[in-house]
């Protein structure tokens, strides 16, 4: 029973962070119809940054995280401006360019950071007694808390700001953007930057638990993609629900089944979704 609770909680913790990561992908896909294949690499970079800022610059873990995410946001803006913007209207090239970028970053990380796992120091230690039933690590609880906070902040942004309103409208129907009289260039720029920042946020939150290496990017990207497909493209609440489902399925599944194929769960879900309900749980079938 204890074990089951442990797996469930793990599933929720990981699931929420998956959701956060997926929101970054969903935002960019929804606004620009671009898939950022370098998503995982930005997650990793944020992890590296938070580790380095904490050790080299002597920043506390929280400030290191914030600075790392801010750096990724700026990088995202740069990426959009130099690489993505010229490809507007040509979906194929944006896919190719972000894929090439992910390869560049992967190889660069190998040189700059080396092949060994890196992680920032934990923010907290020890364990808490949850519901009087079992003990669970405080670091993981803290991760959960921060992730939930960031996601809540995102939904606040979505529903209370001008930018959020535009995002919601465009995610539903791309033609709407021009009708709203919005400057598409500025919206795309912000959306891309924010999407990258969300990837970075997921990275800094998860690296204390799972250290980063140069090659985990593909897995991170794919997980985010699966969650977006499961939740439905264009749906942000779908990301949250999808992330939780994936997190729970993975943790419960690998606990009771052979762990060699642990990562298969996401792919099985992907195939099932495409087969039975390709638009996802909350997705809309568009034109």
């Amino acid at each position: 029973m204890n074990d089951l609770l442990m797996y469930l909680t793990n599933g929720v913790v990981i699931g929420i962070i998956y959701a956060l990561s997926a929101l970054g992908v969903s935002l960019i896909v929804g606004i620009m119809n671009v898939v950022n294949f370098a998503h995982g690499e930005l997650y990793i970079l944020a992890g590296y940054f938070s580790a380095i800022f904490a050790s080299a610059l002597g920043l506390g873990p929280i400030p290191a995280m914030v600075v790392a995410v801010a750096a990724i946001f700026v990088l995202g803006l740069l990426m959009e401006w130099t690489l993505i913007r010229p490809t507007y209207g040509d979906d194929m090239y944006s896919l190719i360019i972000t894929f090439i970028l992910s390869i560049i970053l992967q190889n660069a990380y190998l040189f700059i950071f080396g092949p060994y796992p890196q992680k920032p120091p934990n923010w907290t230690s020890g364990a808490s007694n949850l519901f009087g039933l079992f003990f669970y690590g405080n670091q993981r609880l803290a991760c959960l808390g921060v992730a939930v906070g960031v996601i809540a902040g995102f939904f606040l942004l979505l529903h209370k700001t001008w930018f959020g309103r535009v995002v919601r409208a465009v995610s539903m129907d791309r033609e709407v953007a021009s009708m709203l009289g919005v400057n598409p260039v500025r919206v795309n720029l912000l959306a891309f930057g924010l999407g990258c920042a969300l990837a970075g946020a997921a990275g800094v939150i998860l690296t204390p638990i799972f250290p980063v290496t140069p090659t985990v990017g593909v897995g991170v990207s794919l997980t985010a993609f699966v969650v977006v497909v499961l939740g439905g493209m264009g749906s942000f609440s779908g990301c949250v629900v999808g992330g939780l489902i994936l997190g729970l399925v993975e943790n419960l599944g690998s606990a009771y089944l052979d762990s060699g194929y642990k990562h298969m769960f996401g792919f099985v879900i992907l195939i099932l979704v495409l087969f039975f309900r390709p638009a996802g749980l909350f997705g809309q079938k568009q034109l």
């Binding site: 539903m172 129907d173 809309q284 034109l287």
Partner: protein, 243 residues
Amino acid sequence: MSELLRVEGVSKSFGGVQALGEISFSLAEHELLGLIGPNGAGKTTLFHLIAGTLLPDAGRITFAGHDITRLKAHQTCRLGIARTFQVTRPFAKLTCLENVEVALVGAEAPVAREDRAERCAELLGLVGLKGKERLAAGQLNLIDKKRLEMARALATNPRLILLDEVLGGLNSLEMGQAMDLISLINREMGTTVIWIEHVMGAIMRLSQRVLVLDQGELIFTGTPEQVAQDRRVIEAYLGEQDA
């Protein structure tokens, strides 16, 4: 004349916005039907639903005895429905000849290779693109792109052709040519036509019957003379700053 197209209770929404609500009408073979209405009335959406680019949320569409409600565009094309697009969609990197050839290749009874060049040239000549066969379609000016769109649609040998604002952006000479072509398609080739247009004079002159849409509803059907005098139609257009 027999009934060719019947639209029954067709509706379509996008997100929370209802673009079309419970539209019903029927169309006889060889008719030339005008479809007018203020911007955003749902006219192009109706075309999308008939042609199969979009699926209706409710209702039924019957064409020549077939239920085409859930058919896709390439399937309705094979049954005999062709269309042009409000914003032209040429195959930019293909030549004009190849643009028309695509329509011949996708057809129900594909035209033999030897005959194709001749048929393409014939159609391009008909719409006024003679001499431009080898130009890349992306290089054409607006009126030529519209001509190409017509040639392509005609190449599919349609029984029904849906024309979406073909006169937009043309000068009076070009408009006259376009109207002659539409008249020819309908009267000599016998093709049934539904025609969306904002140029009132043109559509009133050529159409035998006119449908008026406003905010997704069908507010009037009648002859051009009747439509011009209907109170609701006039009110619907009063909010419009359109010529």
